[in-house]
């Protein structure tokens, strides 16, 4: 427990405040968004690299802000899980901000979104970092609200009728979700007098209201993660936003509420997780997987396919609860299932962001994202289609991608736990993903129609951004040993080393 050492405090301060200052500066200066975003990326990445070195060297640490210890003070906590999410977020945000320079930059025509995109994107980044570093349920609430409000604004950024409706629909789900989360937090505080996750872990379990509080928090977060049956808002919201915004919304935003669920069920309240609750969460995930995949098969627009794919992919994140929660938590396979879910969250963040950025470039080239118009697009955008294919490999879970490592870990855990149903679902998910991603890929490689208008050229530099993300998702699979060990740092409960 360090609390006053300078480099860790400085690194955390930089990670938390650089995006927020960047957002303020971008709002004040108006047209200098891209330059401010570049400065923010440099400052934040410097903080993140320091943090990664500190955690890899000295292990996880907590930081009591202003020297106030919990339960009165608010603790920041940096462990391998937090740093893994923060680093992935930085990579994704970097690629998104790099590609957004053209549609939202100073060269873009005078539009309101050119002014509002940059502060919103940086605020979103700041909110994500705040959530990943918080060790306190109320602090998480504030971070989650900031994230939600920014995400809603990003959905409606173009001010068109359909996108405003999508933003409002999202907002209604999100408002109810935050109220439920707040109610759960209030009940927990009333029973235990603290909202610090580490302190709650020692106290939760004996009060009568605990299970109600856990149910409220879980339902609220599930609504924000778009878990079936709360998924209705996601496809129109994610497909309606401009591509760089969609990449953030689909790749990063649902991961934040899932991250809080992980923290809650595995760290704050591991003891109240009954088998039926965990099975329900996993079962809803399985429904989401099948439903999202089937609907993705039926879409005729590329962005809608990718958005429904998000519903499906978020679904099997929830398999972690029956496999690693409750009675399974003490079992040898729990670490594998937990790590598999984290790997899936990280590789999906990169692959899905890459796919939406690819879709954005395709829309720039041909003016729309209807599937028939994509015929032969590989000739005009070879790098983009290559990136899309690589991202598809990760989403299908083919080796050697990060998605494969994730599925392999979860399937091994599923067989070890004697619950082969989840492994079956994972195989089905991979097949369905292959089916719905085959259509756009097959069209991209098909011969173009004779009378089709020539696609507009897109610069190579901008095509590189999604490619970097897709390659990172593949690399996460090839070099999985390092990240696997890293995310275990500071993980409470059974350590992997002790089990092998």
């Amino acid at each position: 427990m360090t609390s006053s050492a300078l480099p860790p405090a400085l690194a955390l301060a930089l990670i938390l405040t650089a995006p927020l200052f960047g957002a303020l500066a971008a709002m004040v200066t108006g047209r200098r968004g891209p330059a401010i975003a570049l400065a923010t990326v440099i400052a934040t990445v410097a903080g993140i690299l320091t943090l990664l070195v500190i955690i890899a060297g000295d292990g996880a640490f907590t930081l009591a802000i202003g020297g106030w210890e919990a339960p009165l003070g608010i603790q920041l906590r940096a462990d391998g899980l937090a740093a893994g999410f923060i680093a992935t977020t930085a990579l994704v945000m970097g690629a998104i901000l790099a590609i957004a320079g053209k549609p939202f930059g100073s060269g873009a025509q005078e539009r309101r979104s050119a002014y509002t995109f940059w502060p919103l994107a940086l605020l979103l980044w700041g909110a994500l970092n705040a959530i990943f570093l918080s060790g306190d349920l109320f602090n998480l609430y504030v971070g989650l609200e900031l994230l939600t409000l920014v995400a809603v604004a990003l959905v409606g950024i173009e001010g068109k009728r359909e996108t405003l409706a999508a933003a409002l629909r999202y907002m209604m789900f999100a408002l109810m979700g935050s109220l439920l989360y707040l109610l759960g937090a209030a009940l927990l505080y009333a029973a235990h007098g603290t909202l610090d996750i580490a302190l709650l872990a020692t106290r939760v379990g004996n009060a009568p209201g605990d299970i109600v509080a856990a149910a409220a928090i879980t339902a609220g977060l599930a609504a924000k993660t778009a878990l079936f049956p709360f998924h209705a808002w996601l496809p129109p919201a994610h497909s309606g936003a401009p591509a760089p915004a969609s990449a953030m919304l689909s790749g990063l935003v649902p991961k934040a509420s899932f991250y809080i669920l992980l923290r809650f069920w595995f760290e704050a309240a591991p003891d109240i997780a009954g088998t039926s609750v965990l099975m329900l969460l996993g079962g809803l995930g399985a429904f989401a997987m099948i439903y999202g995949s089937l609907l993705a098969l039926h879409q005729d627009r590329l962005k809608l396919i990718i958005a429904y794919s998000t519903v499906a992919q978020l679904g099997y994140l929830f398999f972690v609860f029956p496999l690693a929660g409750g009675e399974s938590a003490a079992q040898p396979w729990a670490a594998g299932a937990w790590s598999g879910a984290v790997f899936h969250a990280l590789s999906h963040a990169m692959a899905k962001a890459s796919m939406f950025l690819c879709a954005g470039l395709i829309i720039e080239a041909i003016g729309h994202d209807r599937l028939p118009g994509m015929k032969g697009i590989v000739r005009a955008l070879p790098m983009t289609v290559f990136a899309f294919a690589l991202a598809a490999i990760t989403l299908m879970g083919l080796p050697p991608s990060g998605g494969f490592t994730a599925k392999y870990l979860m399937m091994t855990a599923s067989f070890a736990a004697g619950q082969p149903f989840w492994a079956l679902m994972l195989i089905l998910a991979g097949l369905l993903a292959a089916a719905y991603l085959y259509r756009p890929l097959a069209l991209a490689f098909a011969l173009p129609d004779e009378d089709a208008p020539a696609p507009k050229a897109v610069s190579r530099a901008r095509q590189a951004a999604p490619l970097v993300l897709a390659l990172a998702a593949i690399l996460l699979g090839i070099l999985s040993a390092g990240p696997f060990a890293f995310i275990q740092i500071g993980r409470p409960g059974a350590a992997v080393e002790g089990l092998e």
Partner: protein, 113 residues
Amino acid sequence: MIAPSASLLYGLCGAALIGLGLYGFVVHRRLIRRVLAFNVIGSGIFLLFGASSYRDPAAGADPVPQAMIITGIVVALSATALALALIVAYARLAQSGALPEDAAPGADDEDRP
């Protein structure tokens, strides 16, 4: 000094507000009414939270929930402001105060902003 029974009364009022707000949120199609219902539920939760902070008559009220309630009110205010701005922008374009899937045919008064 509030007697413990008074804090129980406040807690029950809070629970009743949450229930009323939830009902309103579910049955109303017009977005402004839903935002109002959101605020009713929020007030109920804050009241419940505040009432729960008075547990030990000797020690007085726990100030931490009060700080959290103030933060929560700020959050609810920002959320309400954003929701209202979006509703106004949407209503101008769509000539409707309800989402497309909720705009029931025949219910004219429900459709207007």
